[in-house]
């Protein structure tokens, strides 16, 4: 088990290195020059740019060095968790990130709790319905949640609950009231998906002989679902849930813009449009680390849910 975790961690480091290298290369290959963005302004307005000023700025940012040298420096600094300073603001990247992180964490965690709570409740609830047609109708309905673009959902939620009823503020972050609508908007698509997957695996599990046995011994349908089928049906949903964590962070890009929230999503969008290399690289690093951690966590939880699963490091 310890060996398993160690091997996985080493693999994780490799994943991180690969992600950083690819992002470094991509940033240098795609058209776009941070210097011209800086000199021309974020508004996208055209203007004259002094070539001498551009060169000066390029030198200041270290962009005039050969690419391989920039890469080596970047990897060495990344190893020490030093991501340099933002091209845009000149601020330490770690400072920029740590300012954005809490808002996104709060949003993502709330949203994931919603997904779990509503998704599992709906799937379990649906499986308790008396007829197969009803069960299937409820599961099908959740597809809608999955299909709604979160930009649109966000605007509708705002129209109704903020502009119309005035229950929640339309923008900003920090207070619980400001968290509700964006968390719902972000959770809706995942709720649909989780309900679908869990509902279908529950249906499969409920058809298994051990459930029939339990029922024959007098277990109620509720008990058959919660005590017997749910555990077995949970594995695919858990895998999905792990993937959703990444999806939620990606979804934050849109949700944070619609709800004018600070956070990693907005930061990502802004850093990309400004070609702010140091910030983008740090975000890639963070996303990679999150991916590695979540996957490891999910894998470590599997045996707890289903004791038949044994973790071995061979071939990992």
């Amino acid at each position: 088990m310890t060996r398993y975790v160690l091997v996985r961690l080493v693999n994780g480091l490799f994943v991180l290195w690969a992600a950083l290298t690819v992002s470094f290369l991509v940033l240098h290959l795609v058209p776009g020059d941070p210097v011209s963005v800086m000199l021309r302004g974020a508004g996208g307005e055209g203007s004259a740019v002094d070539p001498a000023a551009a060169d000066e700025l390029r030198a200041e940012l270290g962009l005039d060095q050969p690419v391989h040298q920039q890469y080596l420096e970047f990897v060495w600094n990344a190893l020490r968790l030093d991501f340099g300073t933002s091209f845009q603001s000149g601020e330490e990247v770690t400072g920029v990130l740590s300012r954005a992180l809490p808002a996104t964490l709060e949003l993502a965690v709330t949203s994931l709790l919603l997904v779990l709570l509503v998704g599992v409740t709906t799937a379990v609830g649906a499986s308790l319905l008396p007829t197969a047609r009803l069960r299937s109708a409820v599961l099908s309905a959740t597809v809608v949640g999955n299909a709604l673009p979160s930009f649109w959902t966000g605007i509708i939620l705002l129209q109704v609950f903020s502009f119309g009823l005035g229950w929640f503020p339309a923008y900003g972050n920090g207070e619980f009231a400001q968290l509700v609508l964006p968390a719902i908007a972000l959770a809706l698509p995942s709720i649909g998906l989780l309900t679908q997957v869990l509902g279908r695996s529950l249906r499969t599990a409920l058809a298994e002989p051990y459930v029939r046995t339990a029922r024959a011994k007098g277990a109620s349908r509720l008990r058959a679902v919660t005590a017997h089928a749910l555990r077995n049906a949970a594995i695919p949903a858990m895998t999905l849930f792990g993937l959703m964590i990444g999806g939620i962070v990606a979804g934050a890009i849109i949700t944070e813009s619609v709800f004018s929230r600070q956070g990693l999503g907005r930061l990502t969008a802004e850093a990309i449009s400004a070609h702010d290399f140091p910030v983008i690289r740090a975000l890639v690093f963070l996303a990679g680390a999150l991916y590695v951690a979540v996957n490891l966590a999910v894998d470590l939880i599997y045996p707890k849910v289903d004791p038949r699963i044994v973790l071995r490091s061979t071939g990992a």
């Binding site: 011209s36 508004g43 307005e45 055209g46 000023a53 603001s89 601020e91 903020s162 972050n173």
Partner: protein, 555 residues
């Protein structure tokens, strides 16, 4: 609309974003098509009745909160809006006329050769850290902008050729340049040259961006969360407001909270549901609705800038002839473009400059839609054979096929180019759209395609000097084809201080530009503020930035 209480200066807005201009070489020019600037505008009339009320917090919805509140380092409108509240400038511009007015400088004189500007300063101004504003402070500020260099792109271009500032007396300072620099006077009214406490000037540029400085403005910075929120608190001992302000003392409201609300419909919904008190940039999609809502006032302002143009590149082999270039202008239906694409947030161009630029010359007789005249010009220019595909050819069999290379990403400019494509096709000109992820930073002669576009905001005629002169060849739209008449006019702009004379020169230059087809002006950008009728005193400066020390809440 009434109000008796409009501040004297209500009115037009001005430029913003890049104003460039100036002397430095700013260069390359062209750039993005059409995209938007951040605009400015102005506001003027407001409907609130009654006397000003003191106290309260005004919440302001930004299109996008700035990442930096040091407006010397960020020429974008959002930073300039903050800069305006935190710091003052040596001079102010009359929003109606563009005339340069005294502010922190009570008077000035300019040497005959226009290389030395002597300012007499107010002696009663203090920075919010307690330091005194004096000649030493002004010197330190100009020195600091030059030191910032590329980090202060606009200010350092305004100061191109800066030699030194000389402290003549405690409150008299002379700024010297190596060459005539007439545009400098107007530049001292911009937020690129705000006056900060000398004690702040040594701070790191990144810290200055985060607000680590003291100015002499009507507000001080309470807190700043980059890209999100700016909180300002009124300075109670403020007593040196700009001459255009009706309120010469401390601000009416105690606090201002500026929130970045990038999504237009959310910004507007936040306003109509009472969550914010004023928004900038009412989105085109919601403008009509807000205007028809009698609970709210919409102040729309044309930004003082260059009218967003198509620029026929003279060095393109097909556009070497003035008749061909002018035909492009006559074949363009600006009304159609404005109503289809920029519903309410722009108006058809009437000249090289926007109608609110102090140097604007109304050239709508020339800048008009007249496809027949365009066809005559094209015939005269030798494009007199129409091919099977409806595109004109010359005697050599060359097709009149032009390419515009532009930065993709703005649906509006995309749509605008498509309309231009259809309109020009009707007179036999083919336009090929070449969207690119990002325009290269190249010299003008390497600029891809035949047509460029650019935009620049500055409430001064100087905005046209750089790109239509041949003084900075690498960024001249007339690359390698200097127009001597235009050069003479534009260089005399730099040696002429008298505003009447400057205007006269500027008008001749604008006429020359249109006659020669160097610019095909398309539209003037409009910036709209929306606020409830209960908000009193709303006014803007010449660049369209809100004067937040003027507003008050009545409920």
């Amino acid at each position: 609309m009434p109000s008796s209480r409009l501040p004297a200066p209500r009115r037009l807005s001005g430029p913003k974003g890049w104003t460039t201009a100036t002397a430095t070489a700013v260069a390359l020019s062209l750039v993005l098509t059409g995209c938007g600037s951040d605009g400015d505008q102005d506001a003027s009339g407001n409907a609130a009745a009654g006397d000003p009320v003191d106290g309260g917090t005004v919440t302001y919805g930004f299109t996008e909160a700035p990442d930096c509140v040091d407006s010397r380092q960020r020429p974008q409108l959002n930073s300039r809006t903050i800069g305006r509240q935190l710091a003052d400038t040596l001079t102010e511009q009359d929003p109606a006329t563009g005339e340069v007015l005294p502010w922190l400088a009570t008077s000035w004189s300019v040497s005959d050769d226009v290389t030395a500007f002597t300012f007499e300063l107010r002696d009663d101004v203090t920075f919010s850290d307690g330091e005194t504003f004096d000649a030493e402070a002004v010197k330190a500020n100009f020195d600091a902008v030059v030191e910032l260099g590329a980090l202060a792109p606009q200010g350092s271009s305004f100061l191109a050729g800066y030699q030194e500032s000389v402290v003549e007396d405690e409150f008299v300072v002379t700024v010297r340049f190596e060459e005539p620099n007439a545009q400098f006077l107007q530049a001292t009214a911009t937020q690129s040259l705000i006056q900060l406490s000398p004690a702040s000037l040594g701070n790191e540029p990144a810290d200055l961006c985060q607000g680590d400085f003291a100015g002499s403005g009507p507000f001080t910075l309470e807190s700043f969360t980059p890209d999100s929120t700016v909180e300002l608190v009124r300075r109670d001992d403020y007593a040196w407001a700009s001459p255009i302000a009706e309120n010469q003392g401390a601000a009416h409201v105690e606090r201002v909270v500026l929130e970045g609300i990038p999504e237009g419909s959310v910004r507007q919904g936040s306003l109509t549901s009472g969550q914010v008190d004023v928004i900038e940039s009412v989105p085109a999609s919601g403008l009509a609705q807000l205007e028809s809502d009698d609970r709210f006032t919409v102040d729309s302002v044309v930004l003082p800038a260059i009218a967003i143009p198509y620029v026929p590149l003279v060095h393109s082999p097909k556009l070497g002839d003035a008749d061909t270039r002018r035909a492009l202008s006559l074949a363009l239906d600006r009304e159609a473009i404005v109503s289809a694409v920029y519903n309410g947030v722009s108006q058809p161009a009437t000249g090289v400059l926007t109608s609110t630029n102090p140097g604007h010359l109304d050239q709508s007789d020339e800048v008009r839609y007249d496809p027949e005249a365009a066809e005559e010009l094209l015939d005269r220019a030798g494009w007199d054979t129409v091919g099977d595909d409806g595109i004109r050819e010359n005697a050599d069999g060359e097709r009149l096929s032009l390419t515009i290379t532009y930065a993709s990403g703005s649906p509006e400019s995309e749509q605008q180019h498509q309309l231009a494509q259809q309109q020009w096709a009707e007179v036999g000109i083919e336009l090929t759209l070449d969207p690119v992820a990002e325009l290269p930073l190249v010299q003008m002669d390497e600029y891809p395609g035949d047509i460029a576009t650019w935009s620049q905001t500055r409430a001064d005629v100087d905005v046209i000097r750089l790109v239509y002169s041949s003084f900075h060849p690498e960024m001249s739209m007339l690359y390698n084809h200097p127009d001597e008449e235009l050069d003479a006019l534009l260089s005399s702009l730099q040696t002429t201080v008298d505003s009447e004379e400057r205007l006269e020169i500027a008008e001749q230059a604008q006429r020359r530009i249109i006659e020669q087809g160097y610019s095909v002006p398309v539209y003037d950008r409009v910036w709209a503020y929306g606020y409830p009728n209960e908000l009193g005193g709303f006014a803007t400066d010449i660049e369209g930035k809100a004067l937040l020390n003027e507003v008050w809440l009545t409920s």
